[in-house]
């Protein structure tokens, strides 16, 4: 029998070392999720009870953040008009990677009660990748919290890969965005 004492430890390949570091990073990332809340719709009313003493989101390490650069989650609640979709895309592209998107309510899934409006997009998934949906019109606070826990489990299982998908299928997303928004030539100090 070969002694285990003198056997060389198996050398890890670079991918394996990278994966180990990524798993350690995932532990920190899922325990400290900072949100940027894009609350244009009525589902935003479910967030105050989730944050204050009733459900206390902070015990999961989550909290609201002021700017897209600092945030990990982009929380999109309610319907998105075509005008605000452009701002959502700007915001999403400013966030630092890894970044996740949570769609709240039924409006980002299929348009909700505004599905036949001319000013509203129906499926958010066509324009930016969404990791977790919380369905309902409006979802109650338990399901909001449940959605966040689902996202944490997805990060642990490495299935929250929306930001990688956005990079890989960038042309497809850009094509959809242009189809919805149209090419607009902007005249301001940043785009001249």
């Amino acid at each position: 029998m070969k002694s285990t004492k003198f056997t060389e430890p198996r050398k890890l390949s670079k991918e394996e070392v990278d994966r180990k570091w990524w798993e350690i990073g995932d532990f920190f990332r899922r325990n400290s999720l900072w949100m940027l809340m894009y609350c244009t719709g009525c589902c935003a009313i479910e967030l105050p009870p989730a944050m204050t003493s009733a459900y206390d989101m902070e015990r999961l390490g989550m909290g609201p953040m002021a700017t897209p650069r600092q945030a990990d989650i982009l929380l999109i609640s309610g319907y998105l008009s075509v005008k605000s979709l452009r701002r959502v895309i700007y915001t999403y592209e400013q966030m630092s990677e890894p970044k996740y998107v949570v769609g709240l309510g039924s409006c980002p899934i299929n348009g909700g009660i505004y599905h036949d409006s001319h000013a509203v997009i129906n499926q958010l998934d066509q324009y930016i990748p969404v990791d977790t949906y919380v369905a309902g019109c409006m979802p109650n606070t338990e399901s909001v919290m449940n959605g966040f826990v689902d996202l944490m489990e997805q990060i642990r299982d490495k299935t929250a890969k929306g930001w990688i998908k956005y990079k890989e299928n960038n042309e497809w997303y850009k094509k959809n965005q242009k189809a919805a928004l149209g090419e607009v030539i902007i005249h301001d100090e940043f785009h001249e």
């Binding site: 204050t52 902070e58 015990r59 002021a66 700017t67 600092q70 990677e97």
Partner: protein, 303 residues
């Protein structure tokens, strides 16, 4: 000399670990105050390591260099900080004015880096931070100069030893008006609620930190924790009679930070002009009155 430098780094690292833990415990205390369960006590560590594990964008080399300058300047300042009467890295160099000068390096690094991002909110935040600094420094300096005049020393350990030698008469009690001014100035230094004009997340989107994300923000968080360690330790040594051993230091440190944090969390936020007016009115009057009483009349409360 090498040993001294190693001790200095150990003190800076100790300060980081101490302040990060105390801040985490304080988040729990504030949560209980608001009838919530609160995060884990090591949540601040998780936040910092998460930020260091993220990818970040850069806005030019001044943006990156300023962050490193801020962190390096603050670590250099913390190396001079005495923990107790005996644990001090560079004995004889723990002068009060060393901290006043060195802490400016870190602050200016952050100001430079924030202005380098080109975001108008960052410029507004830096301007407000410097204005607040201008406001609280004047009364604070008058009180500290009164203490230096009373004791005849400007070294932090000597001031601490003076208070312990005279029957443990803390300057918080011996100079009662000055103690109040000290607490108010400490709240301004830490950026606590009534004077939190330069962070103001709801108004100017967290001010100087608006463009930071990922690694740079993580480094700024480490810098912020060490800055808080320096400022609270200064208060402990100047007003609370220093510390004979490390446990007394920990107890005093925790008490001061928690007290300030409790006041902070039941207050709203003032506007920047209200902050300047406030500091130039009541704390300045109290500081000057205290200086006249202590220096010209020699009335110092003693137990």
């Amino acid at each position: 000399m090498l040993l001294n430098i190693l001790v200095g780094f150990a003190i800076a690292f100790f300060g980081f670990v101490l302040q990060t833990s105390v801040a985490g415990v304080n988040r729990k205390i504030i949560a209980r105050l608001q009838k919530r369960y609160g995060p884990k006590w090591y949540q601040e560590f998780l936040d910092i390591f998460k930020l260091l594990s993220k990818r970040a964008t850069s806005h030019g080399w001044i943006f990156d260099f300023g962050v490193i300058m801020a962190l390096g300047g603050i670590i250099a300042t913390a190396m001079f900080m005495p923990l107790t009467n005996n644990i001090v890295a560079f004995a004889g160099y723990d002068n009060f004015f060393i901290f006043v000068y060195l802490i400016a390096v870190g602050m200016l690094g952050m100001a430079m880096s924030a202005s380098g991002s080109g975001n108008p909110y960052a410029s507004i935040g830096v301007m407000r931070a410097l204005t607040t600094m201008l406001a609280y420094e004047v009364p604070f300096m008058i009180i500290v100069l009164t203490i230096i005049n009373t004791t005849g020393f400007s070294s932090l350990t000597e001031i601490g030893l003076f208070q312990q030698a005279s029957g443990n008469t803390w300057f918080l009690i011996a100079l009662p008006l000055g103690g109040i001014v000290g607490i108010l100035s400490l709240m301004g230094m830490l950026g606590k609620k009534p004077f939190e004009t330069y962070i103001a997340p709801a108004e100017i989107a967290s001010g100087p930190m608006v463009e930071y994300g990922g690694k740079q923000l993580g480094m700024l968080f480490i810098m912020h924790e060490i800055t808080v360690f320096i400022e609270v330790s200064l208060f402990v040594h100047l007003f609370l009679g220093g510390a004979e051993n490390i446990f007394i230091f920990l107890a005093k440190y925790f008490a001061v930070y928690t007290f300030v944090n409790l006041i902070s969390n039941v207050n709203g936020r003032l506007k920047i002009d209200q902050v300047v007016k406030f500091y130039y009115k009541w704390p300045l009057i109290m500081a000057i009155t205290q200086a006249i009483i202590a220096i010209y009349f020699g009335w110092v409360v003693s137990i």
